[in-house]
């Protein structure tokens, strides 16, 4: 069997820490090969080694049987290796085209020939069905779009070995749907793919083989057809993992969050939330299902006081919090797990301890008449680290050095420990491994069982279905319907999210296809 890529006994150290410890990975021509492992297991590191960003201490890399020395990304590009990084490598204020051609720009008399570039890009995107606007600025396009740009970057350079590092982590179901189609297309075009993902179902659906690593060590490679999600989970975590988190039936009490005819505009002054009504009660988890960009972000920011409301009312425990300062709202009983943990959730330069106290630092016991009490803060941090199993050197380690998975656990620990009456969790499991997801879901349900209200925003329908007691579907800034998980299907949700009320269920077949690409319009 011929391998296009062979990574043999790779060891990569950071200081004395072995991020990769003698890992072997072999990629067959024309296969989609999954690389599976917990957060911080060493997947990105291994791929960065292959892409020439890191130099391994030991082991060798072979491309088409030939030993190669990938000293930097240029070499990788020349070898036809392209990588879609976990954290996009895109220059925000440049256009799609500029990002793609960067580094080998088509020229006409010394001037960048944008027209030609754009044309070439459009051709490639047609060929693989990646539709993008070549003249759009990165900062203005959706995450899904940005991902396509990343893919186009590799294709434009004629890569035939593609590495996808957690491509689906930040995509909506529809976008994932398309990405999978794209990957299949790539394979038929003779490319080979390494796919990193934490979503076992995806692995089952698209991959041919799976290589599992745990804590930097290779566990082995299995053929997808001969395995199942449970086995994979066990392999990577090293213990049994339950998927369908079982929970006792809810007994909702009085309303905690009440939103009435809320209207919110975005930075450009365009209405994103258009007279929205919503309520979340004690002891229930309400899931907000919807396609990205239908007003979810604006809704959350309005509730948390980070964005002015244009009209309408928001109240927590019958206390009107409309237009209040964020801190007042937090004190009114709100906890918030923000969508973008690096931008809004954490101060990366601060230690784990400081971040643990980021919401509470200003009152006792953490500070008294303006003077901080750091010892009590580290006590508190230690507690959270232990309770929420945050993997870190200690509470004084900078958060930057934690894996995103653990960064996420820290935020959840921080917010849940405050025991808020209302917990808003926005995409709480994005980018996390199944173990971590299971853990976080348990916590959310615990909150609800303790009679708290939980408001869960997620693009993952199965997460919504699994965890929520009620599902509110948002479309175009309004709640189009509220359904009970047991009484609905992903199908139906999909339709509702696409803006169809129950009435026109009849014609769901045609709609069915529409859902696919429908969301970019």
């Amino acid at each position: 069997m011929e391998y296009v890529i062979e990574m043999l006994n790779i060891t990569k150290k950071f200081g004395n820490f072995r991020a990769n410890d003698n890992i072997t990975l072999q990629l067959e021509k024309g296969e989609i090969h999954a690389l599976l492992g917990e957060n911080g297991a060493g997947k990105s590191t291994l791929m960065n080694v292959l892409f020439g960003l890191y130099q391994p201490e030991e082991g060798e890399i072979r491309v088409n049987g030939k030993k190669v020395n990938v000293t930097n990304p240029n070499v990788a590009n020349d070898l036809g290796i392209g990588m879609v990084h976990q954290h996009f490598m895109l220059v925000e204020n440049l256009t799609v085209t500029e990002n793609i051609i960067l580094g080998n720009e088509p020229k006409k008399m010394g001037v960048v020939n944008i027209k030609k570039a754009a044309k070439d890009i459009e051709e490639i995107s047609k060929l693989y069905g990646l539709n993008v606007d070549p003249y759009a600025k990165i900062e203005d396009i959706s995450v899904g779009m940005q991902q396509r740009v990343e893919i186009l970057k590799t294709l434009y350079r004629g890569a035939d070995i593609l590495i996808f590092d957690e491509p689906t982590a930040s995509l909506t179901p529809q976008e994932i749907h398309e990405l999978i189609a794209i990957m299949k297309k790539l394979i038929t075009e003779g490319k080979s793919i390494i796919l990193i993902t934490h979503k076992l179902q995806e692995i089952m659906d698209v991959t041919d083989r799976v290589t599992v690593i745990r804590k930097g060590q290779g566990i082995g490679t299995v053929i997808t057809a001969e395995t199942n999600p449970e086995e994979l989970a066990t392999l990577m975590v090293g213990r049994q993992v339950t998927f369908k988190t079982e929970k006792i039936p809810p007994n909702p009490q009085g309303e905690v969050l009440k939103v009435e005819n809320l209207v919110v505009t975005d930075n450009r002054g365009i209405e994103r939330v258009k007279g929205l009504n919503l309520s979340v009660r004690k002891g229930e988890i309400v899931g907000l299902a919807g396609i990205d960009g239908n007003g979810q972000s604006e809704l959350i920011e309005a509730i948390t006081g980070l964005r002015k409301t244009k009209s309408g009312h928001i109240s927590i425990n019958d206390q009107n919090i409309t237009g209040m300062k964020p801190r007042k709202i937090t004190e009114a009983g709100l906890g918030h797990i923000p969508q973008d943990r690096h931008k809004h959730g954490l101060v990366l330069e601060f230690s784990v301890g400081y971040n643990a106290a980021l919401q509470e630092y200003y009152h006792e016991p953490f500070s008294k008449n303006g003077v901080m009490n750091y010892s009590s803060i580290s006590e508190y941090a230690k507690k959270i680290i232990a309770e929420y199993d945050v993997r870190t050197q200690g509470e004084s380690e900078p958060v930057r050095a934690l894996s995103g998975g653990n960064q996420q656990k820290l935020i959840i620990g921080r917010e849940v420990s405050r025991d808020p009456d209302l917990l808003i969790a926005a995409l709480p499991t994005r980018g996390l491994d199944v173990g971590a997801i299971e853990f976080i879901h348990k916590r959310l349900i615990e909150q609800r069982d303790n009679g708290k209200a939980v408001f869960l925003i997620s693009f993952e329908l199965d997460e919504i279905m699994n965890v929520s007691d009620r599902i509110a579907v948002i479309h175009d800034g309004k709640i189009v319907d509220t359904v009970i998980p047991a009484e609905t299907s992903e199908q139906e949700l999909g339709l509702l999210m696409a803006g169809h009320s129950k009435s026109d269920q009849a014609s769901n077949h045609i709609e069915g296809n529409e859902i696919g690409g429908g969301h970019d319009v």
Partner: protein, 321 residues
């Protein structure tokens, strides 16, 4: 003076004042667009002003009326080399770019003055005989109103400055180098994964800034003072820095800002002496601070904040995130 006469005076004077700032500020744009903070502009200007005068004095009889122009080239060259120090420190040695800039400022004036001492055995050079002349642009100068405003007795260097601004815009926004420059200043790691040599781009950018600041300084000394001494360049570098930010790191913007400074300064100079009683009664200090106050007001009036290039000031270290 009649209102028109005032304009005929203010406009050309503003442009003349702005020319050195424009070039220097654009130098700053190049450097900072690549992610290297450059508060060493002052020192680079000093070097240019000094070299310009020295060359002019030394070769006046060789090159005659061409001397000041060739002096600009030489000044550009020398300052560019001088700016290498800043490049090495802030790109290769990962020095704090601001401190390195401060050092450049100290070093520039020190070297220049020391050389002057050595060469002339006094604190300032002799006076150059070939200053940069003012010319009347044929035909255009006869146009009503704008003729005397823009085309009568203008410095060739003012034209040069504006041309350079346009070229800079073209280079930064139309050429491959410009594209790479911008990407390196925003997201060096992304650029790196695209096979761009971050170090090389940054070196080039800093050297360009050195060259342009050099020309700026040489223009100043060859139009305003005619000699070089300890006070020839004092603060213009920082005004250029301000112009760069005011212009939102955009060459045309920087030019606009520099012209605005020039206008404000000239306005202050003329305003004080308009023969209207109540203006005469205003204490002069208000005219002294007018240009700076105007600038602040103008900024406050500008909506939308200026965003520095994201990676500005951060040395690029492979493999760290």
């Amino acid at each position: 003076m009649s209102f028109l006469e005032v304009l005929y005076f203010i406009i050309p004077t503003s442009i003349a004042y702005a020319a050195p700032l424009i070039l220097t500020a654009i130098g700053g744009v190049f450097s900072e667009r690549s992610g290297v903070v450059n508060i060493g502009l002052e020192g680079l200007m000093v070097m240019g002003a000094f070299v310009g005068i020295i060359f002019n004095l030394a070769y006046a009889d060789v090159f005659g009326s061409w001397t000041p122009w060739i002096a600009l080239l030489v000044a550009m060259f020398v300052s560019a080399i001088f700016s290498l120090m800043h490049a090495v420190a802030s790109v290769s040695f990962r020095a704090d770019q601001v401190v390195s800039g401060v050092a450049i400022n100290m070093l520039g004036i020190a070297i220049a003055l020391f050389s002057v001492k050595m060469m002339f055995d006094k604190g300032q050079t002799d006076f150059i005989q070939h200053k940069i002349p003012r010319v009347n642009i044929p035909i255009l100068q006869d146009l009503p109103i704008i003729g005397p405003m823009f085309f009568k007795s203008v410095y060739g260097t003012s034209v040069l400055a504006i041309t350079v601004a346009i070229i800079a815009w073209f280079v930064i926004y139309k050429t491959p180098f410009g594209l790479r420059l911008r990407s390196v200043g925003e997201h060096p790691m992304a650029a790196d994964t695209m096979g761009i040599n971050v170090t090389k781009v940054r070196y080039t950018a800093v050297i360009i800034s050195g060259g342009l600041a050099g020309i700026g300084g040489a223009i100043y000394s060859q139009t305003m003072t005619g000699d070089f001494g300890h006070a020839t360049i004092n603060g213009q570098g920082f005004m250029a820095l301000a112009a760069m930010i005011f212009g939102k790191w955009h060459p045309i913007g920087a030019m606009g800002a520099a012209l605005f400074f020039g206008f404000a300064q000239t306005l202050a100079i003329s305003a004080g002496s308009i023969d209207i009683d109540f203006i005469q009664k205003i204490p002069t200090v208000y005219f002294h601070i007018l240009p700076y106050a105007l600038t602040i007001l103008a900024l406050a009036g500008f909506i939308g904040k200026a965003n520095a290039p994201k990676a500005n000031g951060q040395p690029y270290i492979k493999g760290s995130r």
